[in-house]
């Protein structure tokens, strides 16, 4: 068989690569288009600003929006400091030996644990053992624990990408190790850390299983007054109206999905803008 000329090989490879990219994009585009097409009709002022009525078949979804905001905020507040500090310790201080390699492996594997397992863990630890009850606190902490591996991994990668020469320069100028981390390493790692936070926000807003046993209410038209209250949440609400309520309009379900999509995109875009600003300043 005659060998293909390099030019033809190149063309074939390029077509394969672009085909793969196209295949990856099609489902995403389709999901977004279908949700918008079916859900846009349901979106109006009442839908966004009132509580559900008539067995959740009518009215709005405001309590679920508020609940999701509370849970995402709580998850970020708990997971980011712990995750970032753990990553700093592992990357900057811990000796490289079999124990830290084991810890790293364990953290990566934790990211692969099914989310319902985290839900049950949260139920056992926060709801029952620590007696938080089904509450924002328990739900946010469960989401935070689920997201710790993502934050730790993203932060470690961001720290590892800061050139070693910056650390050497800083130390050679008489800065201590912590001063070097605080003034040189961390500022340059922040864009990468923000990527981890974006992933966390998306997951915390979208997951159903971890909040199922720990916080989410089926129907709770009021607003939370403390972290020990239960709340409704968008993914849980979507699950409930899609499976438990007969004779509910398709547009209400798709409308809820559209709002969930919007909330995730909205919160993420804030972080993405901050990251873009920081990246523009950063170059080496």
């Amino acid at each position: 068989m005659k060998k293909l000329s390099p030019k033809i090989t190149q063309k074939i490879v390029f077509s394969l690569l672009s085909l793969a990219t196209l295949l990856a994009m099609v489902p995403v585009v389709l999901i977004v288009l279908i949700i918008i097409k079916n859900g846009l009709g349901a979106i109006n002022w009442e839908f966004l600003t009132t509580a559900p009525r008539n067995g959740m078949r009518e009215g709005g979804i405001l309590p679920a929006i508020v609940g999701t905001f509370c849970l995402v905020t709580g998850a970020v507040v708990f997971a980011v400091p712990v995750g970032v500090f753990a990553a700093i310790y592992l990357n900057e201080y811990a000796k490289k030996n079999w124990l830290t390699r084991l810890i790293r492996l364990a953290i990566i594997n934790l990211a692969g644990v099914s989310s319902v397992v985290y839900g049950l863990f949260g139920l056992g630890l926060f709801v029952i053992f620590l007696k938080f009850g089904a509450s924002i606190l328990a739900g946010a902490m469960t989401l935070a624990i689920m997201n710790l591996p993502v934050i730790i991994t993203a932060t470690r990668e961001a720290l590892a990408n800061v050139p070693q020469s910056f650390r050497e320069v800083s130390l050679s100028l008489g800065a201590s190790k912590w001063q070097t981390i605080w003034h040189v390493v961390l500022p340059n790692a922040i864009p990468g850390i923000l990527t981890g936070i974006i992933l966390e926000i998306s997951r915390a807003a979208g997951e159903t299983a971890p909040i199922l046993f720990t916080v989410a209410a089926f129907y709770l038209p009021g607003f939370p007054t403390s972290v020990f209250d239960q709340v409704m949440a968008l993914p849980m609400h979507l699950y409930a109206i899609s499976t438990q309520i007969p004779n509910i309009g398709l547009d209400v379900r798709y409308g809820t999905a559209l709002v969930l999509l919007g909330v995730v995109l909205g919160v993420n875009s804030v972080v993405i803008i901050i990251r873009a600003r920081l990246r523009r300043r950063q170059k080496w």
Binding site: K96, P163, S165, F166, R167, E168, V169, S170, L171, S172, L173, G174, A175, S176, Q179, H183, V184, N188, Q282, K283, W284
Partner: protein, 254 residues
């Protein structure tokens, strides 16, 4: 008047990276207000020698150091040494200029700030003084808030010199400071070094034997981790005592 006070004394200094011995029993003295040139082919231990002197070697994993290093009669691997203070006293200029990703001003104020100097007027004074001493002030005085990364290679290296001077060091170690610079920039850095000699003690590691002959008062020749010869620069370059030194400086190997 030349003060023949020995600032740095190493006695039987050995350094290992794992099983590889990078420095073998180095005993030498660096005198006050001199430029000591260190020449030798790649992997002869020149840079390692500098890294030991301000203990940047501590960052490298699996290193072992034996022997004694005295700086102003103080053992630098002693138990109660303040490593940060030592590094302020023994400044280091790296082969590649590495400005930190911040403004020119912040680059130079970095060391003093970490040492606790917060007053703006004091920092401004230090920045101006240091930039002037590194012959960079006139070129950057109107754009101190620009990123240090926007400077040319030669300017970046003088920025790094100014940054080290801001620590008010006593000894400055230069690790091949001109390896990435063009001849004009090299000239400016060498000019700065000759001027600095009046107030500081300099150790210059260089791959460029001509540079050592131009600026060093005394020169040491390292080969495979051993100190082959140390002598007045002029003498070494005219009548080297060791055959290997002669071969190296006449370009027959390395």
């Amino acid at each position: 008047m030349v003060d023949k006070l020995a600032r740095i004394v190493t006695e039987e200094l050995n350094v290992w990276y794992g099983a590889h011995q990078a420095l073998k029993s180095i005993s030498l003295k660096v005198e006050a207000n001199e430029i000591l040139g260190i020449i030798g082919p790649a992997n002869s231990g020149k840079s390692t020698f500098l890294q030991v002197l301000n203990r940047l070697i501590d960052l490298k994993p699996q290193t072992r150091v034996s022997g004694r290093i005295l700086i102003d009669n103080q053992e630098i691997f002693g138990a109660n040494i303040d490593v940060e203070a030592l590094r302020r006293k023994i400044g280091m200029i790296f082969a590649l200029p590495i400005p930190l990703p911040m403004s020119i001003f912040d680059n130079i104020a970095y060391g003093p700030r970490r040492n606790g100097i917060k007053k703006k007027s004091m920092l401004e004074e230090i920045v101006e003084e240091s930039l002037k001493a590194a012959y960079l002030w006139d070129e950057v005085k109107d754009r101190l808030s620009d990123s240090g990364l926007n400077l040319s290679g030669g300017q970046q290296q003088r920025l790094c010199i100014a940054r080290t001077l801001a620590l008010k060091p006593e000894v400055i170690l230069f690790d091949e400071p001109c390896s990435g610079l063009d001849p004009v920039s090299t000239g400016k850095v060498e000019e700065a070094m000759l001027e600095l000699k009046k107030n500081y003690t300099l150790v210059l590691v260089t791959n460029n034997t001509k540079q050592a002959s131009r600026v060093a008062d005394r020169t040491a020749f390292f080969l495979m981790g051993e100190l082959i010869e140390i002598n007045n620069t002029q003498e070494m370059f005219t009548v080297p005592r060791d055959k290997r030194t002669e071969d190296y400086i006449s370009g027959r190997f390395g």
